[in-house]
Symmetry: C2
Subunit: 362 residues, 2 copies
């Protein structure tokens, strides 16, 4: 790999990302990200993995999620502030960076607020492809906020879900979800309780926002063979499942050291058995064993999913010619002469060659 | 604190930072950053501190350095790739973000390649104000690369250094440093060995780049009363001091858990005594005890210094009206309706109010 002739960073802002996703198509993007996640999870051992670094406050959490293989370093900045919606801000905001491991140069800076919802849905659906019963058609969706539509469409496209049973403590959220999903080929039913939504469902997706030890699902709600896609329990003190649900299920996680801290299994002793999902993809674990097994994907969101999503976005932006060039790093006439930069009042001199962007990452 | 009417991020790129530093003046910037570092180190207990997260490769290291108090979260991205200069890239490249703890919104994105050199020099000089002998006038500067000029000027302005003795394995680096420092009121002497440079110096600053267990300073070079400002030993496997230097000195560090991993004291057992420098600033440790004591500041660079520097830059940029607005985070008509964003083909709608930038951080 050759370095860029100078260190420029391709920047994909929120508006550009909307254009990128709309032009490619939302379904194409979710499927494409799911494929990249699957490919990267299959080469799990190639990655330098760590639990994310979290700064907790009374209002929420801010996290950094780094990961690297031999070629690329990626990280995501992401917050979780459930009360943000009261003042007009999203609960979750995110951006991320891809850099060259060989030089440390940051090559791509991208919004990830929108893309986090796509990659979370892609990861959920990918797990359900392997953990839900074959022929699953009905999904209960508990929590109808910002991620609801993406979960619904990912499960429609990748799992074959045709019917959604919706519940949220805020009926306006459910109404919004139903309006957005009209005409998408999904049968929609608003339910008046979680139990009503879950009854008869093949899959239950929980994606609630409250930072609390909630009990969204209890053991008596769950019929044999159901798959639980537990997305919202993703932070110390933020869980969704009654511990009895975990006790009667086979539990799958992304990266065990992180999920022990953040997932619903934070309620369980350290010896509680779980399986890292990459083992199912690489065939060393069978996944679901029979049609009566209750399976739980205790999803918290792992850096490798963002790595995969950032690579997808970087490639798509390059193919489509989207994004601006940032001069985040100075161009030095002599790389040992940082001080000399101050003598150029004009700042960064004009480039002598066109920038090489994400292509140089490949 | 009120949130911004929409989440915009003030962006200070490399060229803008050059203008900012030149208009304010380099000395003013270094002194201003040193003052902010001192103020923040005095309120050490206010911060949620952790050792930085490092991804090591054969060519170098990429690090994330997060820190937060009750109001602001900051992080820096920084690499260290000693061979970069061979292909025209800086050894160290950096950028950073300031965010609101209350909402998680990223408020400032700034280049930090230049600013890292300023804050490192500011931290070094601040430590020397308290740890070097009163009346120190002569400094040996070992390693004359990208950080040399900033170290020289910080020690001139904040410590009273009038004479510099220079050494680098690359004579071109020393020549560059001498050319850049001409007319800055410093007596400069190129030396042909480290021992020659160190003989008679009040302070020795080591700021070398090789990722190796080097022995830049040995015990016999050090006269009683000397202060060693050891900057370049900042990574596992990257040290500058012979362990005998550490054994005969009083050693001061920034954040002990990080320095045990990264500093020159990585050579010493975990019980080797060190003092966190904030204790000197807050008066719970006397600092230098007498004129014969050998003192070492085993500096590795801590996130709090970048927090202080980012706050300085954010305030200066606001006062001076510098920086652009990034739309890193989407503006949602309904914060629970992320999907609705895709229905606005134009992407982010125009703001209805002017952006509130760093001011809202205060």
């Amino acid at each position: 790999m050759l370095p860029a002739p100078y260190p420029s960073t391709r920047y994909i802002d929120a508006g550009t990302m909307v254009r990128l996703v709309n032009r490619k198509g939302l379904s194409t993007c979710i499927s494409g990200i799911a494929e990249r996640i699957a490919a990267d999870f299959r080469r799990w051992q190639d990655f330098d993995k760590s639990a994310r670094v979290a700064a907790h406050s009374t209002e929420g959490v801010i996290e950094l999620m780094p990961i690297a293989d031999a070629r690329r370093f990626a990280f995501k900045y992401v917050n979780g502030h459930p009360k943000n919606t009261r003042i007009g801000l999203p609960t979750v905001m995110a951006f991320g960076v891809l850099a060259d491991v060989a030089t440390g140069a940051p090559r791509v800076l991208s919004e990830l607020t929108l893309i986090t919802a796509l990659r979370t849905a892609a990861m959920s659906a990918l797990a359900a492809q392997h953990l839900a019963r074959a022929g699953s058609r009905v999904m209960a969706l508990i929590g109808n906020g910002a991620q609801g539509e993406f979960q619904a469409l990912a499960f429609r496209d990748l799992v074959g879900i045709g019917e959604l049973r919706l519940f949220d403590v805020d009926p306006a959220a459910t109404a919004k979800l139903m309006a957005n999903l009209a005409g998408q080929g999904l049968q929609l039913r608003a339910c008046s309780s979680i139990a009503e939504a879950v009854r008869g469902a093949d899959i239950v997706t929980t994606v609630t926002a409250d930072k609390a030890n909630a009990t969204i699902l209890t053991p008596e709600m769950l019929a044999p063979g159901i798959h639980v896609n537990a997305v919202g329990g993703d932070c110390p003190g933020k869980t969704e499942l009654h511990r009895g649900v975990l006790e009667r299920a086979s539990v799958f996680v992304e990266f065990e050291p992180q999920t022990r801290i953040e997932g619903d299994i934070q309620q369980m002793p350290p010896s509680f058995p779980v399986t890292e999902f990459w083992r199912v993809l690489d065939g060393t674990h069978p996944g679901r064993r029979d049609d009566a097994e209750v399976t739980v994907f205790d999803s918290v969101g792992f850096a490798l999913e963002d790595y995969a999503a950032l690579c997808f976005v970087a490639d798509a932006a390059q193919q489509m010619g989207l994004g601006e060039t940032l001069r985040l790093v100075p161009q030095l006439a002599d790389p040992k002469d940082l001080f000399g930069l101050l003598c150029q009042e004009a700042g960064v001199p004009p480039p002598t060659q066109p920038p090489v962007w994400a292509g140089a990452l490949s």
